[in-house]
Subunit: 168 residues, 2 copies
């Protein structure tokens, strides 16, 4: 047992409530709506609420920026083993990835951890529409997603809760 923190107390209390009225205990493993969302870890995004996902509907892959590079392993598993057939790449306005350069974060990690700078590619970007296009291209260029799989690009607006389409 880990030491109990304030966060753990709050999270387990919330989970007790969730489990008390839980009715989704027999859903199948493959996503019912057969699609995968690739999006950012940002705290302001709730992909299930914002996109209308119920438990069992879709795979949701999240990382800093919603970058495809960190998502490719998961996309292969999602499609080749669990039958998903469509991808939505959703980046968002006011993303943390717009606020730094990789070289700056490398220096911060180097300074704070005495040179333990394991990860050197932080995948920051300067334009959120372009990062969506870049990531769709990355997935296409990987050649491990069938050409007929639709991949659409979106920007979620943290200011309005809306998603808008990115032309590819």
């Amino acid at each position: 047992m880990s030491a109990t923190t304030k966060v753990i107390k709050e999270v387990t209390a919330a989970n007790d409530k969730y489990a008390a009225s839980f009715t989704k205990g027999s859903l199948p493993m493959p996503p019912g709506r057969k699609f995968t969302v690739v999006t950012c870890m940002d705290a302001r995004l709730d992909p299930a609420k914002a996109l209308g996902l119920e438990e069992g509907d879709a795979h949701v892959i999240r990382n800093a920026g919603g970058r495809a590079k960190d998502a490719l392993r998961s996309i292969i598993i999602s499609q080749q083993l669990l039958g998903t057939q469509e991808i939505l790449v959703i980046h968002h306005t006011d993303c943390g990835m717009l606020t730094f350069k990789d070289s700056e974060l490398r220096q911060i990690v180097k300074d704070r951890f005495n040179g333990n700078e394991e990860h050197t590619e932080f995948l920051s970007f300067t334009n959120v529409e372009q990062s969506v296009r870049d990531d769709i291209k990355f997935i296409r260029d990987s050649k491990v997603v069938k050409p007929e799989i639709p991949i659409s690009g979106w920007v979620y607006e943290v200011e309005t809760g809306k998603i808008r389409s990115v032309s590819v």
Copy 2:
């Protein structure tokens, strides 16, 4: 504009509803509750509902299995740039990662994509408690997370909606 699919029609309709009653347009970028969840992309998991997260509360990193290796870049950004100070690693029962061996999926990818087998490490596992322990160790061993940061391990039960603690 991408071709409109059934999924896109449904997702945009759901998003219209979400945006129509959206009231969270001025949340700050750093997570208010200062923690990060690392969990699986599985469709049956809704981390926000299951853990009581509101928009703005916490970073949520998701990938196939909830593996730390794909999450480390994001964890560094979460902690060094956006001030989070605690990590919950949550894997789950009946995970797809328990159903195959890396070598099998490598062969599938090789067969289906004419040898375009870019990603060779799929991070499958055979025991969900052990995979949680392995991932906590991976994060600790990375030496890019301060030793005083609490990292707790959990298994989410897709059958009950409950999370249970994994002793480390």
